[in-house]
């Protein structure tokens, strides 16, 4: 059974600082997704990572995938308040996804 673990589950950051969210998963998969959820809203796709070594960047967020280590990271550079949200990673299990528990990110000014 595929299990997906995110850490930390809660992250309080100062504006301007860097930090990384980690996503570990238990069985082989080459496809991993990152989503963002704002309070009271639905999930919005951020990144789709489809192979070992894949790296995607959008603004202050960068995601990478290491399929050998079964690890993905979401790196935040110079955090700003607008990045406050919950971030989920999800791993492909055939034609459905298994989600991590989510990381609540709060950026303080």
């Amino acid at each position: 059974e595929l299990k997906v673990e995110q850490n930390p589950l809660f992250l309080s950051m100062q504006e301007g600082k860097n930090y990384t969210i980690y996503c570990n998963y238990s069985t082989t998969s080459d496809r991993l997704y990152w989503y963002r959820q704002d309070p009271g809203k639905s999930l919005e796709s951020l990144f789709v990572l489809l192979s070992n070594g894949a790296v995607k960047q959008e603004g202050r967020l960068m995601a990478s995938l290491d399929t050998k280590a079964r690890l993905s990271t979401l790196h935040i550079t110079a955090a700003v308040h607008d990045l406050s949200a919950t971030y989920f990673c999800a791993v492909d299990e055939g034609n459905k996804l298994v989600f991590g528990a989510g990381t609540i990110l709060r950026v303080k000014s």
Binding site: R31, Y33, Y35, K41, S42, L43, E44, S45, V48, L50, F88, A90, D92, N95, K96, L97, F99, G100, A101, G102
Partner: protein, 114 residues
């Protein structure tokens, strides 16, 4: 752009009522999903469907049923609503396009059962 719509954003129902939540997608996706989301518990898969009239149980199917009569529409049914079904319900769809099963989510329905 993929669009997934849900019939209601907010719904208040009484215990014992039959509740229908509807989801429609416009991208001809084969796969459709119903999740519930509760604080501290993340997203939990209730049911999914990979084709018309096909359904598979997810992690928490008890108390729910689903219907998929048309490819674009996937309905979640609470046969007899209970207070522990108060939750945010999210619908999603996907297809194996561009090599991935990226899921696209609807706006969610916040259901309160009193």
């Amino acid at each position: 752009d993929v669009k997934v719509t849900q019939s209601s954003r907010y719904l208040v129902k009484r215990t014992g009522e039959k509740v229908f939540l509807e989801c429609v997608q416009d991208m001809d996706h084969e796969n459709m999903f119903w999740y519930r989301q509760d604080p501290g518990l993340g997203l939990r898969l209730i049911y999914f469907s990979y084709d018309v009239k096909m359904k598979e149980k997810g992690d928490i199917p008890e108390g729910y049923s689903v219907s998929r009569e048309k490819k674009e529409r996937f309905s979640l049914i609470l046969e007899s609503a209970s207070t522990n079904q108060t939750s945010m319900y999210l619908c999603a769809s996907s297809s194996l396009g561009r090599g991935s099963y990226e899921q696209y989510f609807g706006p969610g329905t916040r259901l309160t059962v009193t």
